[in-house]
Symmetry: C2
């Protein structure tokens, strides 16, 4: 994956790196996929749904991402890692442009997100305990399947052995 003899891909990229060395720092979509781990399709998709402003184009029509685009993408990725939806991220990005206005709304959004996360964690914790219980039940069993029995017996009655 990372070690390979120079392909024409690499060679094509080299020309652009030379430009960059002259201080221009203009990235084509392939560079950005390498830098961010996002796929080209995803990058175009983000632009389509206006998570990114229309990206600049070279004369040939290819997208040229600048540092601001990269910083926006970094923001998006961090917000995604924080479980914000693309819709919410779009709002965060808007507010990011206008920080004076943003504070209350952003705090609101973050607060709600935190509550969601916390209640989700509680559910998962209950679930974890139950699954653990099932597995322990199973460990001691000789035959049959206590997990299935348990999933059964949680219904109304204490299970009359099997009919």
């Amino acid at each position: 994956m990372s070690i390979s003899s120079s392909s024409s891909t690499d060679r094509a990229a080299k020309g652009r790196r030379d430009k960059k060395a002259r201080g221009e720092a203009r990235h084509r979509i392939g560079d950005v996929t390498r830098l961010t781990g996002l796929s080209a399709d995803t990058l175009r998709y983000y632009e389509k749904i206006k998570l990114l402003r229309p990206v600049n184009r070279a004369a040939s029509g290819v997208r040229v991402y600048d540092e601001r685009d990269l910083s926006r993408l970094g923001f998006i990725q961090r917000a995604k890692a924080m479980n914000f939806s693309l819709d919410e991220i779009a709002r965060l990005l808007e507010m990011r442009e206008d920080p004076q206005h943003a504070r209350d709304e952003v705090r609101e959004l973050t607060h709600r997100k935190l509550e969601q996360v916390e209640s989700h964690m509680e559910e998962l914790d209950t679930l974890r305990k139950e699954l653990n219980l099932l597995i322990n039940l199973c460990r001691g069993a000789e035959a049959g399947c206590p997990i299935i029995d348990d999933l059964d017996s949680k219904s109304k009655r204490k299970k009359p052995k099997r009919s």
Copy 2:
């Protein structure tokens, strides 16, 4: 919602309840939605994807659910609450029919599910801490939005104030 003068719906259901009182316990889809909380569409959908065996029909063609169907639905709901996917539940149900064979596979499945749940919880916990941090940062701030700043400043550099 729960208190209402007897509608024709109620009256229609009463006839069937009388039958049930004579020991037949045959539920139409509407009864089952009331008993389980699942929508009629969902019940039909479960049958379509074979999570339920083809449900018996009355002469008129309407579905008639018996106690076994209800018990299967209970099983499905509990397994869903345990975060099993419908696909996994289908497998659990198969094994439920043949418990001698089931044990190892079911334990396997449950074990994997537990691991998923645990790693998801870890992620969420990290997330929770970070969100908390953001909100606390925000609390102390006078203006601007520390949350956005933080999401920004986690990029490469420590943020040169604002350009």
